[in-house]
């Protein structure tokens, strides 16, 4: 067995780094020496990764080389926006390739213990996210992309940290009032009506076509009407959210309640179970995967609905209000700060539901252990 084990990411990183040496220094504010130091770090990482190291050691080497180089490349843009050469981007690509290699090494061959598997499950997406931010920062600032087109994440980060009170107020207005209230009421109402519609079939037959029609209505049309009906404050936004979340929950719950097998229903019949006993002990449980599906879909719909509904009139607070006014003022960093907030809220919301789903529907074939 030879001491060298070629992997394509490291090989490409090696080539990219060597190519970058033809365009030194990388930026106007980087000395040739500093640029060479970056290149040396990348070369060392690439070469070491092709030696047969233990995978933990290889991961450590790659971590230092890729993030060290990335950090140096970001520093090298200080007061040198838009001056990056082709060499700069080549070495950025090399750092990214080593980062990719790092993720590959960490994912390993799947023969890991449960404990490390858990760590990997968190680290890999985190590394991915960090690299998106690094590339975004370096490309936008290195190539001098205009601020209104796309601000660098560092500027958005600064804006977020400086505007925490505003963001908190917007969060309270949009998420804690409109989204939460609308979501809870919409989902609960959809669920309860589904239970009734299931009991009285004719009710369902009348309701479902109406439901399909309402779901097809454009939100852009509903939102102004709701503002007229329920006023400018969060209540009209909550109403939009209720309309948007009600029918997905209704339709999914109805489908879920029908998801039991004939044999299971016959079984309950042989016990002389009442309608409500069958519902509670059999059909509701079987419907849980469907209900969680609706809860997850609705978490996304609720956030979108509340934000967009604020475009149509609102008191001077709220995430949608902020986005629409700050766009007008060309304060794109603030817009992106709100987008980041929405992304974080949406992911946490969805993630919490997915976690709850796992514990409630642990018995479903897709989760069984």
């Amino acid at each position: 067995m030879s001491a060298i084990r070629i992997n394509w990411q490291a090989l490409l990183a090696l080539i990219a780094t060597l190519a970058s040496l033809t365009a030194l220094p990388y930026t106007a504010s980087m000395s040739a020496g500093f640029s060479l130091a970056v290149a040396a770090l990348l070369l060392a990482g690439a070469v070491l990764s092709m030696l047969r190291l233990a995978s933990a050691l290889e991961a450590l080497v790659l971590l230092i080389a890729s993030f060290g180089a990335a950090g140096m490349l970001i520093t090298g843009l200080e007061s040198a926006t838009g001056t990056a050469t082709a060499g700069y981007f080549a070495s950025l690509a090399a750092a990214w390739l080593l980062g990719w290699r790092l993720v590959t090494v960490m994912s390993g061959d799947g023969s890991r213990s449960d404990r490390t598997a858990g760590i990997v499950a968190i680290t890999v997406p985190a590394l991915f996210g960090i690299w998106v931010l690094i590339l975004w920062e370096c490309i936008v600032r290195g190539a001098g992309v205009p601020f209104v087109l796309l601000p660098p994440p560092s500027a958005i980060g600064i804006r977020i940290s400086e505007s925490l009170p505003i963001l908190a107020a917007d969060f309270r207005q949009t998420v804690l009032k409109a989204v939460l209230f609308g979501y809870v009421v919409g989902c609960l109402a959809g669920f309860l009506v589904a239970i009734l519609a299931d009991r009285f079939r004719f009710f369902a037959n009348g309701l479902l076509p109406v439901g399909n029609m309402v779901s097809a209505l454009p939100m852009i049309g509903i939102a102004p009407v709701m503002v007229i009906w329920f006023g400018f404050d969060w209540q009209s936004k909550a109403a939009v959210v209720i309309v948007m979340t009600f029918f997905p929950m209704l339709v999914n719950t109805l489908a879920g309640l029908a998801a039991t097998s004939e044999m299971e229903r016959d079984l309950m019949r042989t016990y002389g179970a009442t309608h409500w006993q069958v519902l509670l002990k059999l059909r509701m449980q079987a419907a849980m995967p469907f209900i969680f599906n609706a809860l997850k879909i609705n978490s996304t719909l609720a956030l979108i609905g509340a934000i967009v509904a604020e475009f149509f009139g609102t008191p001077i607070v709220g995430m949608g209000f902020r986005i629409s006014t700050e766009v007008g003022r060309m304060n794109l960093d603030m817009v992106w700060a709100e987008i980041a907030l929405a992304a974080i809220v949406g992911s946490l919301f969805y993630g919490a539901l997915a976690l709850l789903e796992r514990t409630v529907t642990f018995w479903h074939p897709s989760y069984r252990r």
């Binding site: 044999m263 299971e264 079984l267 019949r269 002389g272 002990k281 059999l282 449980q285 642990f362």
Partner: protein, 260 residues
Amino acid sequence: MPETVISAQNLDLTFETNDGPVHALKNIDLDIREGEFVSLIGPSGCGKTTLLRVIADLEKPTGGRMTINGMTPEQARLARAYGYVFQQAALLPWRTIEDNVALPLEVMGVDKATRTQRIRSNLDLVNLSGFEKKFPWQLSGGMQQRASIARALAVEPQMLLMDEPFGALDEIVRDHLNEQLLKLWAKTKKTVVFVTHSIPEAVFLSTRIVVMSPRPGRIHEIIDCDLGYDRPLDIRETPEFLKIAHQVREGLKAGHSYDE
């Protein structure tokens, strides 16, 4: 003479389907007395399941009369006169084995202490002690089917209705469960109606074997089969056993040739 538990008189059942009516049962006359073990055997589609489902009030006959203990099947069902074992175990995947056994008891409103006691004794009976906290999908097919038998027994019904309960299991597990079922029957003296495709199984277990024939489903022949309460597995090599098995096979052939 023990009392008649199940009585079918001139029973008829026609399913209305999209391709026209299917005559599933025709002129069924059958009396089953308390403590009997009656097997229904016959080719696929001859109405064995349908007959069992009529007894269980899962299907309504379109003609004739069916009484259970002198009651209508519906009254008997609501009085929880029987335990039904389906071809598949049909255990609820979100319930542990013990909670699955507890399910009918919860529906009936049996108190917690009695439930605990019945779970233990019935899981014991089917040799599943120690698996109370497992989920159904963590058990083998044979164990699942045993759990479903424990669930049917937990109600302490007077009758057991079983629709090919061991059909999906391999021969060795099947033999073992047959022995256990026989012991159970000898001990509890329950009335059992048992659907099967297997001649040896029917002869080994039954006091009477009902041979059915298809299109329309009807009773071809009823064969007495009293080998006593104590039947070791190797009774299947004795001449008496083979004689009855031969008789059943001839009956099945004769019932089937009607078809050609």
